[in-house]
Amino acid sequence: MNSKVTNRIALSLIILCAAVMAGILATLLGYILVKGVSSISWHFLTTSSSPFLAGGGIKDQLWNSFYVLIITMLLTVPIGVSGGIYLAEYAKPGRLTSFIRTCVEVLASLPSIVVGMFGMLVFVNYFGFKFSVFSGALALTVFNLPVIVRVTEDGFNSLSRHQKEGGLALGLTHWHTIKTILLPAAFPSILTGIILSAGRVFGESAALLFTAGLSTPDLDFGNWNPAAPNSPLNLFRSAETLSVHIWAVNTGGIMPDVQTIANGSAAVLVICVLLFNLFARALGKVINQKLSGR
C-alpha cells in the first residue's frame, strides 16, 4: 500500500476517534436531557421521595446534596488552600516535602469507595458520628483535599515573583505577604478550581454510600433548629444525596416509576454539574479579561 493511501486512511481514523468522543457526549447529554427534562416538574423538585409509591420527588435529596457540598467546602477550602500554600511557599526541597507531595498524590488516586470505607470505619463507627451529613462531608473532604491543594499550588506558582518580592521589600513577614498580596492575587484561579471541584463533589456517590447513608429522615422544612432530628440543618442525621439516590432507586427501587425518577434525578444532577462547569468557565474568562486589561 502506498504511503499516501495509508496516510489518508489513518488520518480519517483519527478524525473518526474525535467524532466518536463528540458523539458520546452528544448521546449522553441528549439521552439524559431528552428523557429526563420531561420528568422534571415543580412537583418533582418539591416533593419528598416515596419508598414504594409512584410520583415521588427529590426535594430532600437535592437539599442534602447541596448541604453536604457546602459543609464539605467549608472544611476543605481552608485546609486545602493552606496545604497548597505550604507546597508553593514554605516547602523546602527535602524528604518531608516530597513525602507530603506523595501523600497528596496518593489521596488523589485512591478509589472513592476506599475513602468511603475509611469514613465508615473512622467517622461513622469510631468517632460515632453515625451515617450523617457530617460523616459524609468529612469523607468528601478527604476525597476533595488533593484537588484544592493542587489548584492552590498552581495558582501561587503562576504569580509573578515581583509581587512577593515587593511585599518582602516593604518589610512584611512572609505570612503577611502571602495573606495580603499573594492570596488575593491567586484567588481568582483558586476560586475557578474550587467551583470545578464542587461539581465533582456534587456528583460523588461511592464515598457517600457508607458515610451519609441511604435514607433521609422526614425533613420538616419549617424547622431550622440545627439540633432537631428532623431539621434540614441537622448535621448528625443521615442524608441520601441525589447521586446516591439515582444508584439506590436503580438497584433496589420498587416504585413503579423507577425509570422516570432515575432519569429526572440524573437530568437535575447533570444540569447542576454543567452549571458549575459553565460558571467556572465564565468566571475564568472574566478574570482573564480583567487581568489582561481589556
Binding site: 495509508t6 488520518l11 514554605y90 513525602f99 507530603i100 473512622v122 502571602i178 456528583g203 436503580n250
Partner: protein, 320 residues
Amino acid sequence: MKIGKVAMDPATATASKSKLINEKGLFWRLTDRTSESRGKVLIYSSAILMIVAVTAITLFLTIQGLRSFVVDHLNFWTFITGTQWYPDRAQNPSFGAFPFIFGSMAVTFLAALIATPIAIGTAIFMAELAKKWGTKVMQPIIEILVGIPSVVYGLIGLSLIVPFMRVHFGGSGFNLLAGAIVVGIMILPTVASIAADSIRAVPDSLRQASYAIGATKWQTIWRVVIPAAGSSLVTAIVLGMSRAFGEALAVQMVIGNVVTLPKSIFDPSATLTTIITLSMGHTTTGSILNDALWSLGFILLLISYVFIVIIRFLSRRRNA
C-alpha cells in the same frame, strides 16, 4: 556615656536583641494578625494533616482488613485464590475472592482496551491535526465529560448498553463487557486529555525533521511523535486503568453481580468494588463476612498502591 553605648561589644548587642524577640511571647505570636508564627502554625498543620490522612487510611484499612486472617483464621492464600464465595452457607461457609479479583482485573483491562485507541486518536486529533478545533471544540467536550458523575454513566449503561447486549448477545444483558464499556467510556476523557498534553509536549523540531525527509503526516505521527511521547502516553493509560479499577457504582449497575467466575465476557460477573457496595450494608460489624469484605477493601487498597507506584515510576523515568 554615649561613647560607652556605641562601644558595646557585639555579644551584648545580640543578647539584648534576642531578648527583645523573646519578650514577645508565645501568646503574642499566636494572636497578632501579622505574626509569622501564626501563619506557619496554620500552614504546617494543614500540610501535616495530609500525611495524617494517608497514614490513617492505610493503617485503619490494613488493620481492619487483616482481621479475617488474624481473628477469623481464614487462610490468606485460599482467600485470594478460592473461587467459591458462599459466606452464608450454614455448613462450611467458604470465602474465595478470586472471582472478584479476576472481575476487577478483567473490567480494568477491557476498559483500557476500549478506551485507549479512541482516547489516543482524539488526543492526536487535538494536538496534531486540528489544533484550533482541538482547543475550541474538543477541549470543552472532554472537560464536560470528565465532570459527568459516574452514576450517570452507570444509568446510561443501564438504559442503553444493557438492553443492547440483551438483544444482540442474549442473556439478561448484564455482563462483564457492559461493565467494561461503561467504565471504558468513563475513563476516555481522562486518558485523552493527559495524552493530548503529552503529545503537545513533543518538541516541534522532531516533527519538522520528519517532514523534511519527506514523511507523510501519519508517518510522522506514528514513527516520531508517538514514540517521543511514549512513556507519558503509557502513564495516561495507567492512570485511566487505576480509575477504572476503583470505580464502584457505575460498574455495579450493569455487571450483573454474580459471585461465580465468568466463563466469557458475556457472562454476568462481579468486581471487588461491586461486592463491597452490595454486601457491606447487610452485614454486622465483627461477623466473618464483614471482616472478609474489609479484606476485599484491603486488597483494593493494595492494588491501588501498586497503580500509584507504577505511575510514579513512569513519570520519574520521564523526568530523568
